[in-house]
Every structure is written in structure tokens, then in C-alpha cells.
């Protein structure tokens, strides 16, 4: 038994958990600030300097609220819903390579919890289980709006998962590996996949918006039609879990996009700096987080710019737009690699 490795992994797991939660917490703050700035407002600025303690205040508020379970709801499933949403959201961070290798006391430790050789499929699996959180919660509420919301969520996620998977298939043709660690390492030195798979990137990005139920694909929770959508009946921290899971998903999908298409922790000109390996690793991690934050900002930017799709437009775009494009992308990539690369 290699105890140092176990201890390292455990500590690292907790760090990742903490970072994920903190980033998600401050995404709520960032969301409100970005929304405010784009609407010529100031946003939250009362709690602490620049309103930086706002997420804490929100959290305290959420915990203090009365816990309501509707009388006609299915109690067990009603509680199970948000739990699944939160758990699956947190589980995804395990396979993402947060950085290169750290050397502590003469030993190399990877800044990735599990380097699965099917890493990217694991992400898909977790996302597809995440639908249950919304579906079960929406059904258990025994409310028509909640049910509508959950049905929309499920059909939307299944439709867009297809296009997302196909975008990734084309990418896998170029990388030849499903392991996120390897995909990142192949992109060393500005060989970012986005330059080789621009169409795939656009498809993946669009589907990521749909998968996280963010605007312009936030039909499952659109207030104007469905009150609160699947979380209409939820209150207190169970509602908090749903909202929080959405922000965690946003963080994780940003991380996946940065990893898969934007070189992960790779930095341009990193070899010319001449720093020690540990410093380089940490610098790479910092750069990785900058990329993630950019994508989180992009998520918010899009949300406060684009209006929501109508349901039939959503399905049209998914099935008649993105999936044929993704198929074309696969064929084009395959043909190119068959004739030009793999001789």
C-alpha cells in the first residue's frame, strides 16, 4: 500500500471540492455583477467591500428559510432530486487534469485525481445521470409547472447530448485518446484543439450551454412560462442545491471546454520561461483557471445577451442543425485523417 499517494489524493480531493464550491459560490456573485454591468447597473455592493461577502449572505439566507415539502409531494424523491443534482455535479471534477506534475519530497504527484483512460466519457456519464436530479425533483413536486420543466430538461439534455457526443467523436479522431490527461499533453505548445476543430468547438460550446440549462437554452426553468420550472416547489437549501448545482455544472463545463479545446493547463511560451518544474506547474494551473474563468464569463455574457429559444426552435436547432453539422464534422475529420495524416 502506497500511503503517501492515498493521503495526497485525499487532500487533493478535498482541495478540489473546496475550490469547486468556492468558485461556484463566487459565480453567483459574478453572475449578478456581470448582469448588472451589462445593464448599466452596479450590482451587489453592500455586503463587504464590493459586495464580496454577498455569496455568504445568500447562503445564510438560504439556510434560514423555511423548509417546505408540499403535502402531495413524494417525500423521498423530493429530497433525492436535489441530492442527485448536487452529487453528480461534484463528481465530474474528479477526471479533470487541474495541472501538471508536482514534485514534493522527490516524488511526483499528478494534479489530477483519476486519470481514467475514458475520462471524457466519464464526464458524459455524470452529465447524463445529472438529468435524473431534475427529472425526479420535478416529478416528485406534484406540480404541473415542475413536471413541464423536468420534461423539457430531459428532452433537451438527451437531444443535445447526442450532438455533444458527436462533436467529441470528431475530436477523438484527432487526438486518438479519450484520456483527458493525454488530450491536454498533446496540446502542448499552442497545438490547441480549437485550431484543428473549430466547428467541433462551436458545437460543443452550444451543447454545453444546453446541457447546463443556461440561457439561451434555459427552458426548463423559464420564469415567464413555468414559474420556476422544475424547482417551483422547492425552498430553502434544497432550492439552493439546485441553483448551486447549476453553477457547479457551469464551472465544470468551462473546465472541460478549456481542457479539451483550449489546451488545459498549457500556456504559450511556457518553455522559454526557464522556471523550476513546480513553479511551471502552478503557473499552468493558474493559467488553466484563467481560461475557466473566461468561459464562465462567456456563459454569463451569453445569458445576459441572448433571449431564450422557443421549444420548437430548440428542438429544430438540436436535431436539424447541430446533429447534421456534427455528422459532417466527423466525416470531414475522418476523411482528412484517412488521406493526409495516417498514411
Amino acid at each position: 500500500m502506497d500511503w503517501t499517494l492515498y493521503i495526497y489524493k485525499t487532500i487533493f480531493l478535498f482541495i478540489i471540492l473546496l475550490v469547486t464550491l468556492v468558485v461556484a459560490m463566487y459565480s453567483t456573485y459574478g453572475e449578478r455583477k456581470v448582469a448588472a454591468f451589462m445593464q448599466d447597473r452596479r450590482g451587489p455592493n453592500r455586503a463587504g467591500p464590493f459586495g464580496l461577502l454577498q455569496p455568504l449572505a445568500d447562503g445564510v439566507k438560504m439556510f434560514m428559510k423555511e423548509e417546505i415539502i408540499p403535502l402531495s409531494a413524494n417525500r423521498v424523491l423530493f429530497i433525492l432530486g436535489p441530492s442527485i443534482a448536487m452529487t453528480t455535479a461534484l463528481l465530474t471534477g474528479v477526471v479533470i487534469p487541474w495541472g501538471g506534475n508536482l514534485t514534493i519530497g522527490g516524488r511526483e504527484f499528478s494534479m489530477q485525481i483519476a486519470d481514467l483512460n475514458i475520462g471524457i466519457l466519464y464526464v458524459f456519464a455524470m452529465v447524463s445521470i445529472g438529468v435524473y436530479g431534475i427529472m425526479i425533483g420535478g416529478w416528485a413536486s406534484n406540480n404541473k409547472y415542475a413536471l413541464y420543466g423536468s420534461i423539457r430538461a430531459a428532452s433537451q439534455m438527451i437531444s443535445y447530448e447526442l450532438a455533444m457526443g458527436m462533436a467529441i467523436v470528431a475530436l477523438v479522431i484527432t487526438t486518438g485518446s479519450l484520456s483527458l490527461h493525454e488530450i491536454v499533453q498533446q496540446q502542448h505548445g499552442m497545438h490547441w484543439n480549437v485550431f484543428y476543430q473549430p466547428l467541433g468547438f462551436l458545437l460543443f460550446l452550444t451543447c454545453a450551454f444546453a446541457e447546463t440549462n443556461r440561457a439561451p437554452f434555459d427552458l426548463p426553468e423559464c420564469e415567464t412560462e413555468l414559474v420556476g420550472g422544475y424547482h417551483t416547489e422547492y425552498s430553502s437549501m434544497k432550492l439552493g442545491f439546485y441553483l448551486f448545482a447549476e453553477y457547479i455544472n457551469m464551472f465544470i463545463s468551462s473546465a472541460v471546454i478549456a481542457t479539451v479545446y483550449f489546451g488545459g493547463y498549457n500556456m504559450p511560451f511556457i518553455d522559454q520561461l526557464g522556471l523550476s518544474p513546480n513553479a511551471l506547474t502552478l503557473l499552468g494551473t493558474a493559467f488553466f483557471f484563467m481560461k475557466i474563468f473566461f468561459f464562465i464569463f462567456l456563459f454569463m455574457w451569453v445569458r445576459w445577451t441572448l433571449p431564450r429559444f422557443r421549444y420548437d426552435q430548440l428542438m429544430n436547432l438540436g436535431w436539424k442543425g447541430l446533429i447534421p453539422l456534427a455528422m459532417f464534422n466527423i466525416v470531414a475529420t475522418g476523411v482528412y485523417y484517412y488521406f493526409f495524416e495516417l498514411t
Binding site: V34, M38, D40, R42
Partner: protein, 191 residues
Amino acid sequence: MQQLTNRSKVVSDKKMTFLEKIYLPAIVKGMAITLKHFFRKKSTISYPEQTRPFSEIYRGQHVLKRDDLGRERCTACGLCAVACPAEAITMISAERKPGEENLYREEKYASTYEINMLRCIFCGDCEEACPKEAIFLTDRIVASEYKRDPFVYGKDILVEPLDPNKRIDVSKRQTESVLKFKQNKRFAHNK
């Protein structure tokens, strides 16, 4: 049809061109607009610390003025109540007793004078109608209450304090044009 501005656009449901169909150019355009707003000067202010300046002729809570000697100017003529479109003003007149000359300017005064602030629409017609320059609207805001009754303001709130230092300044409302208007021969008794 005659167009009032040239900003209106004719909407049509013609078939979208290819560029419109792939949404992307429109999306980029929209996002550029929001990004421009992101860096723009904010149009809101942090309220309790900063306040927006009131207009010089802001019409807020009324005041019943006293004259220089501290006597109430109101003579309960009822013109304000007649002018009031919301019928918010009521009053009861009384005769000045001997020895009250230092309290009331004229022989007749208002023993009660009430304005229902829930009815009032702050149009300023009362001020316009007043021949004695007794009632003015000020830049004070009517305070909020939990019940309806306190909104009926009596003389205790409306009449300005006796203390010369605590008088309510309405000079802003007596702009040149207003004063000129009031110096009209027809209002000569107003001095």
C-alpha cells in the same frame, strides 16, 4: 402612415438568409453591444450615500407659511380646496379673538386644515390658487406609514415651526417669473 421618428422598423417574416440562419453573426453583434455596456458608466447611484438632486420646483410635502412676525398667513378662504382636483384639502375657519393678533395675520384663520396625502396628486394647484402665499409645496418627501390614518396631515405637521431658524425655505419656488406673475395688478392684495 406618417412616421413620427425614423427609428421604427418594418417587420417582415421573409425567409432568413444563410448568414441569418446560422445565428452566429447576429450573436456576435449582440454580444458586442452588451460588452460595450459592460464598460460604460453606470447610470445608477448608490442611493443612501448619494442622492439625486431635486429639481428646483420639485413638488413634495406642503407647508403652511408664517409671515415675518410668525403669524399664520392662511386665512381659510378655501380657494385651495376649490382648486384641488383630488379634493384632498379640507378646512374649518374660525374668527380671530382679540389678543391673538400675534398668531394669525388676518381676522379669519383656519382652525383645522387637513390635507389627505393619499389623495393628493402633488399638482401644485393649491399653491397657484392661494392669494395669501400661505401654502407651498416643498422638496420634502411624504414619509411612509403602516396605516392610512396618519396620512391625513393636520396643522401640526403642515404649519412651519415658529422658530425663525427652522422656517421652511420656499424661495426657490418664488422664481422671477412667479413673483412677476404675482405682482400682477389683479393680485395686488397679495403683498
